[in-house]
Symmetry: C2
Subunit: 209 residues, 2 copies
């Protein structure tokens, strides 16, 4: 599996009016190691069209490509995997439909959810919400670094922290046991996406040095 | 394949405040031969939960069960098939992901769309909008019985007419070449769903006598 260092979630409405593929290109130019397409409002046909283009961009960049929620779209565009939240397909079903060759990510906020997700076959966990954030309206109360540490001690699969992460607090997230950071606004909402990605990636990598 | 005589689409918000499973039970009690679950707003986890219950109800009734749009959910609940519109997954991709054992339905409004859908592997077509209707806001201009006849002459797969069909005009739809009628409000919007289904089914079957 490729490194999770910098996992950039693409939700076009949070990208300052810039087109989806421009957000992806600039994030990849800044070193994003994984791209997730998270568009809750788009019809499947548009998701497939976008997904095909992002598949090409991520492949060229050597980055992992994950689709949020729509497992069928992930299969359709040959994404590397799918990411599901607690309101999406049950993880055990997703694991079965996805087969062993693709990556299953699951959003968790508690130790119980983390253990269940791993039992259901998750390959990595998105752990959060860590800090207060405006990007995901449904994100719930922040669990903080203590919540992340507790999950880190409970499971061995890779963890990406999510929720309110930026270049100032990324080192703390890594120190708490994350394998990488997932961000939306901190990268695609920045005036200079490439620079923002580069800065965040440097913070993640320096935290390991 | 089971008969398409009366294909009832379940969209809970159009069911007069009654719960989803009550709409399904009453439609089946009135003789619906196929049930489609069409809930554009529900998260996948709720679709799976509902879909599992409808799977049991339709199996007991000997009715076909189709899921709208979400091919992954259709696979998850072992529905008989999936129905896709022109904004959903491309039909050829849906055919490949679905495998040969499940039913693929495609919404079409023109002869070109119908020919393409069949070439892509559709097992049946939903043809419409036939008449003006309020159930589907995105339904477009009615194509009328002339539009249905033209499609009937162009393809040989089963056709269900859709859009503004009721017990008064169902015989005309069948005479124009449909193999069954698909309805939303005419059944689930009726005060007595079972009676409405029974009346419509009788109209369809008498048209063949």
């Amino acid at each position: 599996m490729l490194p999770w260092d910098l996992y950039v979630i693409i939700t076009t409405s949070l990208g300052g009016g810039r087109p989806t593929l421009e957000l992806v290109r600039q994030a990849l130019a800044g070193g994003a190691t994984a791209i997730q397409l998270r568009e809750k409002e788009l019809p499947a046909r548009q998701l497939v069209a976008l997904g095909r283009e992002i598949r090409e961009l991520t492949r060229s960049a050597g980055a992992t490509f994950i689709i949020d929620d729509r497992l069928d779209v992930a299969l359709a565009v040959e994404a590397d995997g799918v990411h599901i939240g607690q309101e999406d397909l049950p993880a055990a079903i997703a694991r079965r439909l996805l087969g062993p060759g693709r990556i299953l990510g699951v959003s968790v906020g508690t130790v119980d959810q983390a253990r269940q997700a791993v039992a259901d076959g998750a390959d990595y966990l998105g752990v959060g919400t860590l800090f207060a954030t405006s990007s995901k309206g449904d994100a719930g109360e922040p669990i903080g670094l203590a919540g992340l540490k507790a999950i880190r001690e409970a499971v061995t699969v890779p963890i990406v922290g999510i929720g309110g992460i930026n270049s100032s607090n990324a080192a703390g997230v890594m120190a708490a046991g994350a394998d990488g950071v997932a961000v939306i606004s901190a990268v695609i909402g920045a005036p200079d996406i490439t620079a923002a990605a580069r800065e965040l990636l440097a913070a993640v990598r320096q935290s390991r040095a």
